[in-house]
């Protein structure tokens, strides 16, 4: 809407999806969540299903805008707008979300990793709309943490990181680290995930993970440079890993 108010966009037609009830709602299936693309951010934030099965999402949503924008904003809207630091995009990436788009030719499923094509440009054809987001919650015992730095409450993050780590027999059996604010879309730090997998969580390991994360290719803009974003990426990754461990042990809230 801001783009329309600024007359940056002047579409000839706008279709209001608010009355398409199929696009709303969170369905809990056996091993995944099916989230309608028009589900409001406020609903996701407060949803018992989300809080129970994938609390990383509600944690991240606490950083998204303000009450008034969350009351109307949708998960689909956030994913399609694809701001480089959008929290919902980052957690979708952390969860390997699968996005269903629907067009004249029917449905197709796009992995979150394939979703960002360029800045503010998702892999959506002109005749398609995003209809569903599929999230597979982590079943095994795991910890999560979401950390971001923004100048003020509700602002787009400068850099944000979402971490999920699964612990089996005192060892990290699975790790997912998604970074936002460094590129057109969220970046999964696969090298860091590989480093962590099979290792015992600990200070030295997390420090090493942070240093590796700091090597990420980061963009720059008029406000913040590449080096600064790399600095935050590294430090936040390390911090978020500690945060996830604390959350796993019941000693932390899973954010910072």
């Amino acid at each position: 809407m801001p783009m329309l108010n600024f007359r940056i966009l002047s579409p000839e037609h706008i279709i209001d999806l608010n009355k398409v009830s199929d696009l709303f709602g969170i369905k809990e299936n056996e091993n995944h969540l099916s989230i309608g693309s028009m589900t409001r951010q406020s609903e996701l934030l407060n949803s018992p299903i989300i809080i129970q099965s994938s609390p990383l999402i509600s944690r991240a949503l606490g950083y998204v805008g303000h009450d008034q924008t969350r009351n109307r904003g949708t998960i689909g809207g956030s994913l399609c707008h694809l701001d480089p630091a959008a929290e919902l995009c980052i957690v979708a990436s952390a969860y390997n979300a699968e996005l269903t788009v629907t067009g004249k030719k029917g449905d197709r499923v796009i992995a979150m990793s394939d979703w960002p094509v360029d800045f503010l440009t998702p892999a959506l054809n002109d005749d398609e709309i995003l209809t569903n987001i599929r999230i597979t919650p982590w079943q095994g015992s795991h910890g999560f943490c979401f950390i971001e730095f923004a100048r003020r409450e509700g602002d787009f993050a400068i850099v944000a990181v979402a971490v999920l780590i699964e612990i089996t027999d005192h060892v990290i059996s699975k790790a997912s680290i998604a970074l936002g604010g460094v590129a057109a879309g969220p970046v999964r730090l696969h090298e860091v995930e590989t480093l962590l997998t099979g290792q015992s969580p600990g200070q030295e390991l997390f420090k090493e993970a942070g240093l590796l994360a700091k090597k990420v290719d980061a963009m720059s803009d008029i406000n913040f440079s590449t080096d600064y974003r790399k600095r935050l990426s590294g430090a936040f990754t390390e911090r978020a890993l500690h945060g996830a461990m604390a959350q796993f042990k019941g000693e932390g809230e899973g954010h910072g």
Binding site: F6, R152, G154, F156, N223, Y228, R231
Partner: protein
């Protein structure tokens, strides 16, 4: 008996209608058959207009007209706007055309005008207007603008210098030659824009029968608008009425005279219909005046004990593309020197420079925050280098209470000496430090450091000249029904004028606050006014309201003494009546006295009396009362992100006699938050080519509730000897020292890294770079 209102925390009279949505701001005003205006604004910082193709736009249904400079000048003298505040120091007095005549000098300058049935259609028309430009080089950096081969902001000007001013007194060379120490600091100061939540707007209506113009404008200075428009049109001031309706914040930039305030009334005449223009936020970023860069290179000479002997330096001031507001901003950037300190020699010069950016004019505090910031940085520098406690350096240098009134040595523009009238700077400092729990801070700081946290405390002391003259008058008139009409030349944007003026009049006349009917901001209701700027209203209207009310009281008593056949000294005012002291039954109401003084046909005005129970006064202050105070900021810095968090903020403030403590506190808190915003957030960035890059609220950051601290306030009351009430202004006192306090606190938090902040607003990334060395 009269109720004591002066000094009481009376609830505001303004609030009820605003709380229920019955405020009437300029965009709430509709007139019959009203048309709407949108302006085509330059997309280039510096260019010649080659051609404007308006044919398609004119044909759009709902469009009544599209006008360019050429279209207008065929029937109307669309000359350059006048200089509001002429001053001999202005070497190149370049003001703008209301609609650009070929050359545009900043992004946002008006190049054409569209009039349509509604704003949306007008903007539709703008989308199909084609403006062809010959782009010229733009100059944005005010220091580069002074270099010999710099692009010229105006193609025909000789260079980019607007003018030079200097404040100079005492023996500066001797001071520097004989000092034990000389310290040098250089920094860039950047203040931001207006960003009142209500943008500007104008509604104009031409009454063809009377040939009068009525303007509603979201302005701080309706009388300035009227005078300027009358001068521009060459018409009678009295046939132009300017009304400031409810105004949603002003903060300085609404105190000028804008192209739109010429164009909208012109169009009202041209089309014979009422015309409305409302600025949208996108326009506000470029079309409303602002403040931006000042580069300071200063030196301080002091003795081994930290006593300052002299301050000298040079300032480069970014002026923007035109000079609508004279040299007020540069003047107010130098005249506050040397602040609350008894410095014997000062020599600072300032060059104001044209740049191809939005023109500048004062924003809350005007130039004073720049000057106070500079002095406070020097104080901190002395403290750090000589290892003398920062509060102690201030104590040693403060003007003492016994020295009041203290002539600093500087001269005002009219040649009169700058004099601090009253104040106890030492007491304010001590009070602020107690409020901030300064005594235990070092322990808290080292404790925090043990936890890996970096907290810091910063002090900033200031003075503020308030109550700029010449006057702001008040008429007090008792009406036959006993209600008291109070009319003033002031105009409010939320400062509570109605309330505190009513307090003064109600106490004087012993009537209730609810009996006061208050009108202001309307040139049709009060003949002469100046405007709400420079923390001047309480200082000017307070005394005039007081004097007018007392004159009414005297007249009432005189008349009542005849009516009641009692001696004047046996009479008192009580509950809307004049009565024999202590004898309620022997009384006559103020309303009846008013009626007696305004008889009907065949009646008689009592001998020796002029009709009407009213009085008008223009008495203000005999000079400039100086407010003062000390602020203390406590911050925490995250050395990883460079983020600065405000933990606490303490203010000790002296604005003389306080009329309404709640209103005063409100001005201080709001002002401090504005200053914190300048320290940490507000930055208007232009590209090298002059494109505004921070022109939405996503990029231009205003302070939000979550990042602002609670602000504790303690008052000092040093009444001013310069006016009958002893009041001093307070509108800007919160903003003036705040930035310096925050920056000092950040430097204190990062002491171990030896960080010297060289510009504000503090950017987290830049802070990390300074920390990393």
């Amino acid at each position: 008996m009269s109720v004591r209102y002066i000094g009481a925390e009376v609830q505001r009279m303004e609030d009820l209608r605003l709380l229920i949505g019955s405020g009437r701001y300029v965009d709430d005003i509709t007139r019959d058959r009203m048309l709407h205006v949108a302006f085509v604004r330059s997309e280039h910082a510096h260019a010649n207009i080659k051609n404007i193709d308006t044919e398609n736009a004119k044909m759009l249904d709902g469009v009544h007209g599209v006008l360019t400079y050429q279209d207008i000048t065929s029937s109307f003298d669309l000359k350059r706007m006048g200089q509001l505040f002429p001053a001999p120091v202005i070497e190149q007095n370049i003001t703008q055309y209301p609609v650009a005549n070929e050359e545009v000098c900043y992004v946002g300058e008006i190049v054409a005008v569209v009039v349509a049935e509604n704003r949306a259609i007008a903007e539709d028309a703008i989308e199909i207007i084609n403006v062809e430009y010959d782009v010229m080089p733009a100059i944005i950096d005010c220091r580069l603008a002074l270099e010999p081969n710099a692009p010229k902001a105006h193609k025909n000007s000789k260079d980019n210098l607007v003018g030079i001013i200097r404040t100079s007194f005492g023996e500066i060379d001797k001071a520097f030659k004989t000092a034990d120490h000389i310290f040098r600091r250089s920094f860039l100061q950047h203040r931001g824009g207006c960003h009142a939540m209500e943008c500007r707007g104008v509604v104009a209506e031409h009454d063809r029968s009377e040939n009068t113009l009525t303007l509603w404008s979201s302005t701080q200075c309706p009388y300035l608008v009227r005078r300027s428009l009358a001068d521009y049109l060459g018409e009678n001031e009295e046939s132009i009425r300017v009304i400031a309706p409810d105004v949603g914040g002003g903060f300085g930039p609404k105190a000028g005279f804008y192209p739109e305030e010429i164009m909208v009334p012109f169009l009202a005449r041209f089309y014979g219909r009422p015309i409305k223009w409302i600025e949208d936020r996108h326009e506000h970023f470029v079309a409303t005046t602002t403040q931006r860069d000042q580069h300071w290179d200063v030196e301080v000479a002091c003795n081994a004990d930290g006593l300052i002997k002299g301050i000298r330096g040079e300032v480069t001031h970014e002026n923007g593309a035109y000079v609508p507001y004279g040299f007020l901003l540069p003047f107010t950037s130098l005249t506050p020197l040397p602040g609350p300190y008894a410095v014997p020699a000062v020599d600072v010069s300032l060059k104001a420079v044209f740049t191809n950016t939005t023109p500048n004019s004062p924003v809350r505090g005007a130039g004073r925050p720049y000057a106070i910031y500079a002095v406070e940085r020097l104080i901190e520098t002395i403290s750090k280098n000589l290892k003398i406690d920062a509060a102690e350096v201030r104590r040693r240098n403060f003007v003492k209470e016994e020295q009041m009134p203290y002539a600093t040595g500087a001269l005002l523009r009219d040649g009169s000496p700058v004099k601090y009238d009253s104040g106890n700077y030492h007491s304010c400092l001590d009070k602020a430090l107690v409020l901030a729990d300064h005594a235990s801070f070092k322990d808290r700081q080292s404790s925090a450091r043990d936890d890996g946290r970096h907290i810091g405390m910063g002090i900033s002391s200031y003075v503020e000249d308030t109550g700029l003259g010449p006057y702001e008058g008040t008429t007090v008139r008792v009406q036959p029904n006993g209600k008291v009409l109070v009319r003033s030349g002031s105009a409010s944007q939320g400062q509570g004028h109605h309330t505190f003026i009513a307090q003064i009049v109600a106490e004087t006349l012993a009537v209730s606050l609810e009996d006061i009917v208050f009108e202001s901001g309307d040139t049709g209701k009060f003949p002469h006014g100046v405007g709400t700027i420079g923390s001047r209203i309480a200082v000017n209207v307070g005394p005039s309201a007081y004097e007018a009310a007392n004159a009414v009281k005297d007249k009432a008593i005189k008349l009542a003494s005849e009516t009641l056949e009692a001696a004047e000294q046996d009479l008192e005012l009580s509950s809307g009546k004049v009565q024999v002291k202590g004898v309620e039954d022997l009384s006559v109401s103020l309303g009846d006295l008013a009626r007696t003084l305004s008889p009907k046909a065949g009646g008689k005005v009592p001998s020796g009396f002029v009709p009407s129970l009213e009085a008008t006064s223009y008495t203000g202050s005999n000079g400039s009362p100086f407010a003062s105070g000390t602020n203390v900021a406590e911050v925490e810095v995250d050395i990883l992100t460079g983020n600065v968090k405000l933990i606490n903020y303490s203010v000790a403030h002296d604005c003389g006699t306080i009329i309404n403590p709640k209103i005063v506190d409100g001005q201080i808190i709001g002002g401090v938050v504005h200053g914190i915003g300048n320290a940490l957030f507000e930055r208007m960035i232009y590209s090298e080519g002059g494109q505004p890059l921070t022109n939405t609220y996503a990029d231009y950051l205003l302070p939000l509730a979550t990042e602002m601290p609670n602000i504790a306030i303690v008052h000092e009351e040093s009444p001013s000897p310069l006016n009958v009430l002893g009041v001093k202004g307070v509108g800007e006192g919160g903003t003036i020292p705040a930035t310096a306090a925050v920056v000092a606190a950040v430097e204190n938090a990062l002491e171990e890294f030896n960080v010297e902040i060289d510009y504000y607003p503090i950017n987290p990334q830049h802070l990390t770079e300074l920390i990393d060395g």
